[in-house]
């Protein structure tokens, strides 16, 4: 009787110590689900989902505060991917938040720009280069096409330009190959 009790107690103690150590050693920082959701979101940081960026929206989805269909840049594919990740039924994109559009970049009309720096403050990814009272320009590779700089410009010198297909990024049309 004593042997059995002491053996089991010892085992329980050992396992307990092991688990306790593992809990500290392999502690997960933050919510991994938020990271997974954030990885699917397009990182446009446009705020069309009513949250101030992709990460806050991911946090809202994870905590159940927001639906998965509020991201127009992600498109229907994005909604489907989120549904698959969360193992819930997919839904159609909520058009109240906007419609998916082809990717664009901001272009500053440098002759008109007055150097007010309002766009620099509005840009969520620091894609603008400039300083007060000098001309401002956009680093095209960094621009996510979020449109947030459009309303703040007092002289309307920013235009969103669609990215033209080139020989290098051309994708053949699979529909043309479809047969029978």
């Amino acid at each position: 009787m004593f042997d059995a009790t002491s053996t089991l107690s010892l085992l329980a103690l050992l396992f307990g110590l092991g688990l306790g150590y593992a809990a500290i050693r392999y502690r997960v920082e933050g919510n991994p689900l938020v990271d997974q959701i954030d990885a699917i979101l397009p990182q446009t940081q446009c705020g069309q989902c009513d949250f101030p960026g992709c990460r806050p929206y991911a946090e809202a989805i994870a905590s159940g505060e927001a639906e998965i269909n509020q991201c127009p840049p992600g498109g229907q594919e994005g909604v489907d991917a989120l549904a698959e990740l969360l193992n819930i039924e997919t839904m159609t994109l909520n058009e109240e938040h906007g419609e998916p559009e082809p990717k664009r970049v901001a272009v500053v009309d440098e002759d008109v720009c007055i150097g007010c720096t309002l766009c620099i403050q509005a840009c969520p990814v620091d894609a603008f280069v400039g300083s007060s009272k000098v001309m401002t320009t956009v680093i095209a590779q960094e621009c996510t096409g979020c449109d947030l700089c459009i309303p703040v410009c007092p002289v309307d010198c920013i235009e969103m330009v669609e990215i033209k297909p080139t020989v290098r990024n051309y994708i053949p049309d699979i529909a043309e190959l479809a047969h029978v």
Partner: protein
């Protein structure tokens, strides 16, 4: 004869055999159009203006990118336009081109400065740079910048000169050997000097006895050997050639340089010789014109940028509606019309009669598995087809889509006439786009997070600064108070002592 063989591939007859495959030099074109976007690397930027007079071999566009070769004027004359022109590409999209109108003189830039025959006195770095500024890219069709390739293979043990034709029907490499066999041998010697290769193997198909005899005649270097390989399609592809000549299999995602082999096309070797010894940049290439609308297939040495029409005017074409494609019957890209110019990777122009070559309508896959047996790189074309068709790109990549060399063997044997290669090209393009988008979203995420962090930091720093200022002010006020107290005390002391004196005076 090579002892190694590769699985798959196709034994194909040359559909357009020619009695003579001599390289024909044609007169200078009146006008050349030079695309600034080459197959690999960023688009070059023009460094000449409209109306400027340029000399043959003068750099007209370049970019500060390691992976990009500069563009040279291929004739002397005036720059008449820098505008968007249709590219010889399946998309039919336009890209920036420089148009030069010939002055008929073909005045060259100064070609006397350089390594010349005494290239042994130049350092390998000088020669790498010479290859780069001469605008040399892989002439077999892939267009990979040669200086990068040579530099990557610096420590290689074997130099493999690819003298096999890309596809049946193309004879430009054979004609190049007939015309420039000494240049090929001497070009290999230049490469010996800049790489650590101990031997060079010139691999050539056994159906070209004339070219083989000529190479053997002029080769008097013990380190260079000429190896005949069986004539079988896709043996000209780099990975396959390395395997069939040396018995080395290049791992997935790696290059010949990773297994210590520097593999270059004969055209590239000739261009290296011209650049290093003769100081002439790449301004012309050999092009085959063949197809069922061409009465006699011919090979031309033509200046880059010459139009297809100009080239075709030297051949006998059957009357009627033509279908033009760049490269041959297996890997050719169908083009709309003939309004294109010869680029560094145009090895062949195929002109077919439209009605004779109308493609049969594709039918459903019957899962016969023929494509699996002919694939020279051991892939599962049928599986790749299903995944590509369903746009399941991740799965296709799992099945090694990226190792596909787009040789077209699978499409050729398919009894249902499914354009399999086109599906793979689509999947690859989609995959490249996905990778690029992933990169961009990752960058946007980190920039957004950095901005949040920066704003937070600024706020904190400002708060800290305010706090510090407040504290300093308080201290100052406190010390002011102490000062005041001292003064007050002094004033009091003085006044009290005064009153004391007054009192004493009163006494």
């Amino acid at each position: 004869m090579s002892e190694f063989a590769f699985k798959g591939g196709l034994k194909l007859e040359n559909p357009y055999p020619a009695d003579e495959i001599d390289l024909i030099r044609i007169p200078l074109p009146d006008k050349v159009i030079l695309p600034l976007q080459q197959r690999i690397g960023e688009q070059a930027k023009p460094i000449v203006g409209i109306g400027e007079h340029v000399l043959t071999g003068q750099v007209v566009a370049t970019i500060d990118d390691e992976r990009c070769a500069p563009v040279h004027a291929s004739i002397s004359g005036n720059v008449v336009a820098i505008d968007e022109q249709v590219m010889p590409h399946q998309s039919g999209l336009k890209a920036l081109c420089i148009t030069i109108e010939s002055d008929g003189k073909d005045d060259w830039v100064d070609t006397s400065i350089g390594c010349t025959e005494h290239y042994e006195l130049c350092t390998p770095e000088t020669i790498y740079n010479k290859i780069r500024v001469s605008g040399i890219v892989g002439m077999g069709g892939a267009g990979f910048p040669t200086h990068t390739k040579v530099q990557l293979a610096e420590g290689c043990h074997t130099l493999l000169v690819n003298a096999t034709e890309c596809e049946p029907g193309i004879t430009c490499d054979a004609s190049l050997i007939l015309a420039y066999s000494t240049k090929i041998i001497r070009g290999a010697e230049v490469l010996f000097h800049i790489s650590r290769a101990e031997r060079a193997i010139i691999a050539i198909e056994d159906d070209k006895p004339e070219a083989i005899a000529l190479l053997k005649k002029y080769c008097n270097n013990d380190r260079i050997s000429i190896e005949e390989i069986p004539t079988k399609y896709t043996s000209g592809a780099e990975k396959i050639l390395v395997k069939s000549v040396l018995g080395i299999e290049i791992p997935s995602g790696k290059f010949a340089s990773d297994v210590g082999v520097l593999c270059l096309n004969v055209g590239t070797v000739v261009a290296i010789f011209d650049a290093v010894v003769e100081n002439r940049p790449l301004i012309s290439r050999a092009v085959t014109v063949a197809g069922n609308a061409v009465k006699v297939p011919k090979n031309f040495q033509v200046r880059l940028g010459a139009s297809y029409d100009y080239l075709l005017s030297f051949t006998d074409l059957e009357e009627g509606k033509h279908k033009v494609s760049m490269a041959g019957m297996m890997m050719g890209i169908e083009l709309k019309g003939t309004n294109y110019s010869v680029t560094k990777n145009t090895n062949c122009i195929f002109v077919d009669m439209d009605e004779k070559s109308a493609p049969a309508k594709a039918k459903e896959c019957i899962r016969c598995g023929l494509c699996n047996t002919v694939c020279p790189v051991d892939l599962l074309p049928q599986q790749l087809y299903w995944y590509s068709k369903g746009e399941n790109i991740d799965k296709a990549v799992d099945y090694n889509l990226l190792d596909c060399i787009e040789c077209g063997c699978c499409s050729y044997v398919c009894p249902s006439r499914i354009p399999l290669v086109n599906y793979y090209q689509f999947s690859k393009a989609l995959y490249r786009q996905q990778v690029k988008e992933k990169e961009q979203t990752d960058k946007a995420r980190s920039r957004f997070e950095f901005r949040e962090m920066r704003l937070e930091r600024n706020k904190r720093e400002r708060a800290e600064m305010m706090e510090a200022k407040k504290k300093a002010l308080k201290e100052k006020m406190a010390s002011d108070k102490a000062q005041k107290d001292i003064i007050e005390a002094a004033v009091e002391r003085v006044s009290s002592s005064k009153s004391d004196t007054e009192e004493q005076d009163g006494n």
